[in-house]
């Protein structure tokens, strides 16, 4: 084929294409609009889910609060909705949640911070690249497996030290939840610490600070709001954690602050009721929605606080 032929041929092809783009353009524009609409609908489903959650919780809770006063709900010291003489004091469940959460923080705060400091200040790139997936794996373990671990590994171990520890107790549940949230806490705090600009570190090194002094006195305080965000978000996860407490902490709602005792959390209570079969529409059925609403409001507060803190450290630099 001579170059001349190619020229003619190519001109023909380009012309053919140009001529065919009259009516199809309109069709193209409609197609584009249609696709955009479909994608928008996909994005709006997430809003629909939120509406669904808030709607269902609010609707059932309204029915609940028609029969139980808010004052009783917040101040009664017992939670016995299924007894002949029912009490609806959410405090008994909140205390269980609070105790397990605090225990979990006792594990997660030191461990998460150490890992974060190590990863961001000490570890080489290759180590970091291999440790992060390992931590991710830890957060991929199903919670029910952690529950098994708490009940049949941690508790028996603790019982060796502490023979009078009951089989169900908040301590081992809390410890295991702490381990569960470590990957999350450490990855968010590491991000925060790595966001601290290099020149701050260099400044410290230039003054003769050791790596440890730099990490603890310069990087850690500078990243404090980000690190706090990590814990606040970690707390929110611990509060919402269900299976570990349902398996290992017991199902008995008790107003106690002693981690060595068994007690039900809000989530464990919902599981317990769901396992039985309470008739749809009964007050017992509605209690789980009132509990769920309380749970959601508490986690929402922590989530919002966490996001505000996270935003703040992003703004600083």
């Amino acid at each position: 084929m001579t170059p001349m032929d190619v020229d003619v041929l190519e001109a023909g092809i380009v012309k053919k294409v140009a001529e065919s783009s009259g009516i199809p353009r309109m069709w193209h524009q409609w197609k584009e609009k249609g696709i955009e609409l479909l994608l928008l609908i996909a994005a709006l489903t997430s809003v629909a889910i939120t509406i669904g959650i808030v709607g269902v919780l609010a609707y059932e809770s309204v029915l609940f609060f028609r029969q139980v006063s808010l004052v009783e709900f917040l101040t009664d010291r017992q939670w016995t909705p299924l007894f002949a003489e029912p009490h609806y004091g959410i405090l008994s469940l909140v205390s269980g949640t609070l105790v397990t959460t605090i225990v979990s923080l006792m594990v997660a705060v030191p461990m998460g911070s150490l890992i974060a400091i190590y990863l961001s200040e000490y570890a080489s790139r290759t180590i970091r690249e291999s440790v992060k997936p390992a931590l991710e794996l830890l957060s991929a373990v199903p919670t029910v497996v952690y529950g098994y671990f708490a009940l049949l590994f941690v508790t028996p171990m603790l019982q060796k030290v502490w023979p009078e520890l009951p089989g169900f107790n908040m301590l081992s549940a809390g410890l295991v939840i702490g381990i569960m949230i470590v990957p999350y806490v450490s990855s968010v705090s590491e991000d925060a610490m790595r966001a601290v600009p290099v020149h701050l570190r260099e400044g410290a090194f230039a003054l003769g600070a050791t790596r440890m002094q730099t990490a603890l006195r310069v990087v850690f305080p500078s990243a404090l709001s980000g690190i706090t965000a990590a814990y606040v978000l970690g707390v929110s996860r611990a509060i919402g954690e269900t299976m570990v407490v349902a398996i290992a902490a017991g199902m008995q709602p008790t107003l106690t602050w002693n981690p060595l005792e068994p007690a039900a959390t809000m989530t464990a209570y919902i599981v317990q009721v769901s396992l039985g079969d309470l008739p749809h529409g009964s007050i017992g059925y509605q209690t789980i929605f009132a509990t769920g609403l309380t749970l959601m409001l508490i986690t929402l507060v922590f989530n919002i606080a966490g996001h505000v803190l996270k935003k703040r450290y992003r703004q600083v630099y």
Partner: protein, 277 residues
């Protein structure tokens, strides 16, 4: 870091120690039973696969669609802002709350019952924010210059997305989706809430039939159980023999999720090698 690995090893060790002896063909091919040594996880693993199928079928197209909209189409206005805030908040809602919502809405309001369909949709809603967030991150890794190159040639928005943005972010998207599904595999609480049965001694209707149209949707409305529910049921029994079953089931479950995670890591590494921006 060594602590993390240690914990993982302890977990695995404990499960292997307790449950490996119980793992057998009989265990995988039997229904649950009152007799611990005859019980198995047939209905549970079949259930997990079916529920995951429904979850993936729902959450993946919705999640990708939403992510593409937010990254490539969304104008800066209050609707977009609302969707953004909403997704960030949804990701922090405890999983059991999704279960409550599904119980009130899907089971009773929409009369889907305590079925595979309900379970699949519940988990799909649960992982949707995760899928969206992961997909958006993957899409953002495609540099704007590539989009500009496509637009400069006269490509429409959809052509740019279909021919460039999606294929080039496929690695990240796949990774995110597998991780989200691996979360869903181990998810227990919301399914207990919608009313999973832990004692199912039959398989759902097969998804095919002899007559036209040969596909049967009957199974969607069958009662369901899944691996973590089965394990939970055995763990919460007082008899030690059942704990052995729980360990064996946990081992299978853990292997499932670890395999999915390993797959995700491999895919991520593969795609990273293939495309350097």
């Amino acid at each position: 870091m060594s602590i993390a690995l240690l914990v993982l090893l302890a977990l695995l060790g404990q499960l292997i120690f307790d449950g490996l002896g119980r793992l057998s063909w009989q265990f995988l091919s039997s229904f649950p039973s009152r007799f611990p040594d005859q019980a198995g996880i047939l209905s549970a693993w079949v259930g997990t696969i079916l529920v995951m199928f429904l979850t993936a079928l729902t959450a993946i197209p919705l999640g990708i669609g939403a992510a593409i909209y937010l990254e490539e189409y969304a104008p800066k206005n209050w609707v977009t802002e609302l969707i953004e805030i909403n997704i960030a908040n949804l990701a922090g809602v405890p999983s059991i709350v999704y279960g409550l919502m599904a119980l009130g809405l899907l089971v009773y309001e929409l009369h889907l019952g305590q079925s595979f369909l309900t379970a699949g949709l519940t988990l799909a809603m649960l992982i949707l924010p995760m899928v969206i967030i992961a997909t958006r991150e993957a899409i953002r890794s495609v540099p704007p210059q590539i989009r500009e190159a496509a637009y400069a040639l006269g490509a429409t928005k959809w052509q740019t997305v279909r021919d460039h943005v999606v294929p080039y972010s496929m690695g990240g998207m796949l990774t995110g989706m597998i991780l989200a599904l691996s979360r869903a595999v181990g998810e227990t609480a919301p399914l207990i809430t919608v009313g999973a049965l832990s004692f199912i001694a039959f398989l759902p209707h097969p998804p095919w039939q002899a007559e036209f149209p040969f596909i049967s949707l009957q199974w969607l409305f069958d009662p369901f159980t899944v691996m973590p529910i089965q394990m939970f049921n055995w763990v919460s029994r007082p008899q030690e023999e059942f704990h052995v079953n729980a360990a064996a089931a946990g081992l299978v479950l853990l292997l499932m999720t670890l395999a999915m995670n390993a797959l995700a890591i491999i895919i991520r590494a593969r795609f990273r090698k293939r495309i350097h921006w």
